[in-house]
């Protein structure tokens, strides 16, 4: 902990450290990559897997634990589109705009999905249910146009059938867990 307080200058003092259990998880990930060169990216990938996104406290914690300047960590995180620093919706809807999907009406699918969800690409619906993203090829070109909802691949999507496609994901959490 001492090294962390050492680098906490005025500029970063506003950043609260992540909760202690998160810190422990981060430490475990870093430990698994201890003797590896170039371990920063695998560490970031695994931590994002754990928490869903990379908050500033989490990034700060990773930087100090790995002895890498915070600026460099941020530089890497902002460079790669896989990393996100804001929380995402419960479900991520990804519209493929790879070439095959694009020429098979993917653009229409995207614009209709935007209307259907009422959000733009990169945004999350107000009820935190859906985030909308654009993908560049999931390698399922034979099934174009493709929409991925979380890990489910929906193939040969027809714009007129989008509502049916989203319906199964619409279930509010309260119905699933009536006791809560």
């Amino acid at each position: 902990m001492s090294s962390e307080t050492d680098v906490s200058t005025a500029a970063t003092s506003a950043i609260q450290p992540p909760p202690i259990e998160q810190q422990e998880q981060i430490d475990a990930v870093i430990a698994a990559h201890r003797n590896e060169s170039g371990a920063l990216i695998p560490v970031l990938q695994e931590v994002q897997q754990l928490f869903g996104y990379l908050s500033q406290p989490v990034l700060y914690c990773i930087a100090s634990r790995m002895g890498i300047p915070f600026s460099e960590v941020t530089g890497v995180v902002t460079f790669y589109s896989y990393f996100t620093t804001v929380p995402r919706g419960k479900h991520t809807v990804r519209v493929c705009l790879g070439t095959a999907c694009y020429v098979r009406n993917g653009k229409q699918v995207l614009s209709d999905l935007k209307n259907e969800l009422g959000i733009d690409v990169g945004d999350t619906t107000a009820d935190q249910q859906f985030s909308l993203e654009v993908g560049r090829c999931y390698g399922a070109c034979g099934l174009a146009p493709v929409v991925m909802v979380d890990d489910d691949v929906h193939q040969r999507v027809k714009p007129a059938r989008l509502r049916e496609l989203l319906a199964p994901y619409h279930k509010p959490t309260s119905e699933e867990d009536p006791d809560e």
Partner: protein
Amino acid sequence: MSSATREVIICGGGGCVASGALDLVERFRTALAGANGSVRVRTAGCLGPCAQGPVLTIQPDGVFYEAVSGDDVDEIVREHLVEGRVVERLCRPSVTDGKPVPKLADLSFFRHQTKVVLRNCGRIDPVDINEYRATGGYDALESVLKSNSADEVIEMLRVSGLRGRGGAGFPTWKKWEFARDAEGKPKYVVCNADEGDPGAFMDRSILEGDPHGLIEGMAIAAYTIGATQGYIYVRAEYPLAVSRLTKAIDAARSAGILGVSMMGTGIAFNLGIRMGSGAFVCGEETALMASIEGRRGEPRPRPPFPVEKGLWQSPTLLNNVETYANIPAIMANGPEWFAAMGTAQSRGTKVFALAGAVKNSGLVEVPMGTPLGELIYDIGGGITGGKSFKAAQIGGPSGGCIPREHLSVPLDYESVTKLGAIMGSGGLIVMDDDTCMVDVARFFLEFVQEESCGKCVPCRVGTKRMLEILERICAGAGVEGDIETLETLGRQIKDTSLCGLGQSAPNPVLSTIRYFRHEYEAHIRERHCEAGVCPSLVRAPCQSACPAGVDVPGFVSLVGEERYAEALRLHRERNPFAAVCARVCFHTCEDKCRRASLDDSVAIRGIKRFMVDQEIVIQHPRVIENEDNERRRIAIIGGGPAGLSCGYFLARLGYRPVVFEAEQRPGGMLVQTIPAYRLPRETLAREIRMIEQLGVKINTNMALGRDFTLNDLRDQGYEAIFLAVGAPSGMTLSIEGEDAAGVVEANEFLREYNIRGSVPVGKKVVVVGGGNAAIDAARTALRLGAAEVTVVYRRSQEQMPAYAEEIAEALHEGVTLRCLTQPIEVIKGENAAVRALKCSEMALGDFDRSGRRRATEGGGQPFTIEADQVIVAIGQRLDVESVLGELEVELASNGFIKTDQLTGQTSQPWLFSGGDVASGPASVVGAIAAGERAAVGIDFMLTGEDHAFWRMENALDTDYDPDADPVPFPREPMPTVPVERRKWSFEEVELPWNESVALRQCKRCLRCDYGKTPVRKEILYAEAHH
């Protein structure tokens, strides 16, 4: 159940998994639970035909089933596995006769492939190392480790001629030699599996389908160059690939193949996986290495090359997945075996990811040098949905488009590069006529612009500028000079960018400009997107597809509300010949109808037919009287659809043009060659009378060249002349015996019957040709009493230019069609009259410039078809001299008159031209559109202003609920007169619908125009005029 062990092998490639393959595995295991283990159920890697997934094979029977659903499992078990009967329903139909083909080896998709890299994909369980070893896997590594020096391995690679499969095609042996010779320790072996090109999934399928093949290739590389550590850099979007690869590496390590001592030799090699994080630029080798080092994936200048200073400044050998996957096969089978495949410069095979508008999309592997057309048609099965091939995009964002005139290009590094594309890693997207090439270029630019890492200015700023220009063009705000700016910028970016991403980023733009410049020009000058894609230029795809720009959603929705007169007036805003086109139009509107993506296109022509049948009082359009215009003298030569349409639109601007028609009746081809059973004469006469009522004077029996010349008209004070005489002369066969009595030209034959009322007809008639004139002549001859009518055409039926409906009706009426038949001699009988036509059989060969397979000599014995009349319908031409006389007018390369696309103006400022005389033989609606353009052009020349008020789009006041689900009614066919009533009768064949059918059909329209602001299209500016 037979005692022999059988296997159900279910494709476990990404595509089939997405289609439900894993569920199938469970269903089979459950269904076969009581089969005492005599049938084994397992998954294997990608088999290739992803579009028809999930697919499976049953071995050792070699039977292939596609699109298998969970409900089919019981039937397969009962019928095939128990009874031994193939379930034909689930077999792929043959491309030639549609019959089911049970055996995988017999299918066209597989027959034309040669699998080297994909040798194990779809056959073995990808993560089971024992299965891999059972196929001889790791034998090559073992043999290299034990008995070959590094020099020998490099020499074998040199002899094999293997070149890098990542796209650039650098000789692999040279790279390996550099890496081996490089000073420095440790050395690294890296596999680039960051398959970022949209539309490419070759590497994915290898990683998922045969990970051990890749590992073995990398291990051989490590031994050869002396590396101890390797990395496979896989993109994060391929979780299945990562998981299988991880299992395979673990298994290889446990088996002592990887690790401190490869196969007990004491040589160490460790292999790790690094996952990408969604940065396309990391596919560039220096950026990829930066990413493995844990930094931002920015490229750096080369040299030094990675073989000298790579990962952590150490010598690094970097190859693509497919390159490594080739290595074990080359070592096992010998370099000469490999070099025997492909072309002299490009040896071996190449894997392509075939996708887009092709029937059998999926993963295919063919010898280098295979013609593009064979890949698309023989393996890919041709274009989906009856559309035609437009271009193949090859090489992803770094590549380019190959248009239909180059379908015969052999797919090897040099040939593809020569056409402005690149082989790339092998992504091959097939595009049909529904693809806008400007939009495609914009799409790729948007992609590289987003993925540009921003390190160097040409790529960061240059691609941004190019994208802005392309967006402007697609939005209808392009300006003259944009195309040239794109070309200049593109060349500069190519020359000055830091890495491969920037250096190749302009390729999609430059190659589409090279082959589809006219589309860019149409976007800029005419604000027209011929594919119907660019939203700002396309109110509705049907309207955009109509050459005359008729407001299709407008008249369809008005008919749907029973507002028939309004609907007709709206139609006549852009096309006076509503009733004519309701009969003879080739309806490109229906080809582009978006409803087709849901079920089937709206039957627009049928609705139009119903609409015009409701016309009791002829509906005149809006006319603006103008005394100045009334005094000006304009001549129109040719009273066909182009000339009459030009007169119609001029009259609506207040002019009083005069039409000169050579025949005794106006109408041109509509009255001379199109038979009355397709277009009743009173229907045509009525619309011509309407045009006359607007103030167009028609002088018949006045032929250009015979009764007057162009200069005569100028002398008489005509200020502008519209030349629309068509292409009246027929082409000849140029074969022996053509001068025999009874050989006639189709247009002459039809004209004589249609104008004079009778024509001699044989008993056994042979018509030569495949166009509409041929079919019209055949059906006319049949009606006039011919006992046998045969149409011979040298190409295949699909290639016939005649409309499919017409061909179908002709066959229905009893016309015999003999395709792939080329006449070689007319055999004369008594009195030098036709006795028979001698023909030879043709076969389809390679692809010609029109993108169709060339008909070549089939090699069979010539044969004869008895005939007493031969009607020749092989095309029309223009006798330029008889039309122009001594007047100097520039001609286009096809021998027709060169005209401005927007105005119809020729190289003589006062002379305008349109229809067949300018474009070559084309459609009725195309001629109508050309007449409209010339009317606007003539008005513009005379007044300096554009007054075409009808070009303003209309906001519709018809009801439409955008939230309602589409109505479920089907597309309706047109009823027809029974065949037995057609002989000796020229009664109209097509019958109208009743009202309820028509109204229901109207409601099927998806109203693509809904919510769009009406604009005015095709504005003529002073500078557009020269």
